[in-house]
Symmetry: C2
Subunit: 410 residues, 2 copies
């Protein structure tokens, strides 16, 4: 039986895994000015309308629209200047019919007015009088109280990662605190008898641990807290006790397997022994990353990643990040930022399997990119360090053609 | 004369401004494990080759390729098993002609061997003997020493923002420290007599300060250090001394003008008084953001931003971020991550002026988005808080059509 008939595609594997994982978003209340990048754990409602008063959007004269009816260059309307609206204060006068008040952008419309004539459409007449050269409709050149945000309106939904604009929105409402998701803790365990810490000079046959650091960086960028458990010896007892310890301290436990098949099987066995339901997925129909393991036990997520650094990072993007997002209360559908580029070479791919190919991005003309696939059997981390992003060849395609426009996931 | 004939388009204004700004990247040496998101200030060279030894990429048998010549299912070649390569150690034996050694993925090829036969292409024969069912070429199923990275090769260029992959690359080389650009300091000054701090309940006619916080968040996300100078009173003396103080302490000084024309002129006047060459650009052919001011004095960058929060944030994206990037030593051409979406409505635009329109993103089918323009005369910050991103209507277009595919800048 061909392999793709019994291995799940990445999207189905993820769904099966997340469906089995009990999601409880942990929350904390923090200062709004420190909430950049955090995810809201409840909707933010407006405590008062915005703007809080009728506000001019131009420099000009606050008037009653009805007074300007028929006004034109040829037939101006003459209004009496009642006064000037001070910035940042409530005008202490009312404007009656055939009167007007000088107003600046952002100023508060005086009682009695319902529109603003732009200064460009007026002309100084005799002292204390203004010529109106253009008619305006009620509400023109102004924002009504509550027009932007009504009192009690939801202004920021639950499960939204706060950007600069939302931080500003919280400030506009005077919200000094905000309820956000606590960052999930992600345990990172490396294995492989050939792996040594980066500070150590590898003896012949050894390699430095890379996965602990790439995964930590990825988790950190995505709003999680990486907890490093170091390099675990390739034996059942050591691996079991390390995974069991991480399970107590973390929301997600990741293990990058050593490169040999025996270590990978050990990872699956140890994860399965952590409790029910145990291993849900062992092997995914994707390249790189076939030996991925997904397990749930005791309400925790366990993800077994391939040992080679490129596969580990690609698979972490496909499984660790979505799990982290779920625990942050973010929607399952992820907005995937991409750069559109023209593929430089034909790429072949086995139908029935999803492929992820690292590409180098070259700027051709302003805003246009060429995507050059990076080949290399080594799968060492510098393949990705040279890459601007990854392109995806879907399972139902047997390749991509040179010159085709592709979305580069960055 | 139409306005677009004397106002510079944003790209030209930026070029004129950056060309006049002396760029000196300040540097510091930091721990590689803490360098995520930082920008390299010198190229990183490999202190040794990678891999450091000939390494197997599969589970199988290390052999001499010549010995497998002509091997097939029908006519296997029989080799003597010399031993097993231990993981993480140098094999203590040599493999001679007609011999082979059991090897695991990542294992070091023993002296005398030049390729690996996958275990799937072998069969156990008598004890101490292996049947080879497939011929291999020299170098097959292995990575040669230095094949991924040669000694002294540039592995990370200067001026690159470090992602997870590069952090991993530094670890693979045992680089514990890295020289990076010091984060530029960006002074943030607000003005406008109607503006009050967010903690204060605005009196009628007043609004809360939003720009200080949106700009701080933007600067922080981009790798700069925001320094907040608060709300400066709308008079020449106060503004001059605040800007002069910020000039001493910051690399970039931003002032968001109050909403009235007089305050905007004051900002330009105060910036021009800081030294040579002074104000270079006063007004840019873009909407929103026409009243933008760009100045250089005493080697510092000064950017005057419109007072309304949407314009301020859009213009900060067009001018403050590129300046920050320049001071970080990043290339001027910026990789702009976008989401491709289908526009839901016709959008008209004045030819000759660049327009930026906030859009809401709706997922239609998996990976496909619809971009719905957000209109609203208010320009309050919630316009952007509701937006998934911005679309750009170039100066030479008079609009975009419903159904058209657009790039949404996120």
């Amino acid at each position: 039986m061909p392999e793709f008939l019994h291995l799940l595609p990445p999207a189905d594997a993820l769904e099966k895994f997340l469906d089995a994982l009990p999601i409880q978003v942990q929350t904390e209340r923090i200062a709004a000015v420190q909430a950049l990048g955090r995810v809201t754990a409840e909707p933010v409602l407006a405590p008062h309308p915005l703007p809080e008063f009728n506000r001019s959007t131009v420099d000009g004269y606050a008037i009653r629209a009805a007074d300007t009816h028929g006004a034109s260059q040829a037939l101006p309307v003459y209004l009496t200047l009642k006064g000037e609206v001070p910035m940042g204060a409530s005008p202490d006068f009312e404007v009656e019919s055939t009167q007007c008040a000088l107003i600046h952008t952002g100023g508060m419309l005086p009682p009695g007015t319902d529109a603003v004539v732009m200064v460009e459409h007026t002309q100084a007449a005799r002292p204390g009088e203004v010529e109106i050269l253009h008619s305006v409709a009620m509400g023109e050149n102004m924002i009504e109280m509550g027009e932007d945000v009504a009192q009690g309106q939801e202004v920021i939904p639950q499960g939204m990662r706060l950007r600069a604009a939302e931080i500003g929105g919280l400030m506009a409402l005077g919200a000094s605190e905000v309820l956000v998701a606590r960052p999930p803790r992600v345990g990172i365990l490396s294995s492989g008898d050939e792996v040594v810490p980066p500070g150590q000079r590898p003896a012949p046959g050894q390699v430095r641990d890379v996965n602990t650091y790439t995964l930590s960086a990825l988790v950190e960028s995505a709003g999680g807290i990486p907890l490093q458990y170091g390099i675990i010896p390739d034996n059942r007892e050591a691996m079991f006790s390390a995974v069991a310890k991480a399970k107590e301290e973390c929301d997600i436990v990741t293990v990058t397997a050593g490169s040999s098949a025996s270590t990978r099987d050990l990872t699956a066995e140890v994860m399965d022994a952590q409790g029910e339901p145990g291993v849900l997925v062992h092997g995914v129909n994707v390249r790189p990353g076939k030996p991925t393991i997904l397990a749930v036990a005791g309400g925790r997520a366990f993800i077994g990643l391939p040992g080679n650094p490129v596969s580990a990072l690609v698979i972490a993007g496909l499984f660790v990040l979505p799990t982290l997002r779920a625990l942050l209360g973010l929607p399952r559908d992820r907005l995937q930022p991409t750069v559109s580029a023209q593929l430089t070479l034909n790429l072949s791919s086995k139908t029935g399997r999803e492929d992820w190919i690292p590409v180098r991005l070259h700027a051709s003309t302003a805003g246009n990119y060429r995507a050059e696939p990076i080949f290399g059997k080594s799968n060492l981390i510098f393949t990705l360090a040279r890459a601007g992003g990854l392109i995806r060849i879907p399972a139902d395609a047997n390749g991509l053609s040179a010159g085709e426009n592709v979305a580069v996931f960055i």
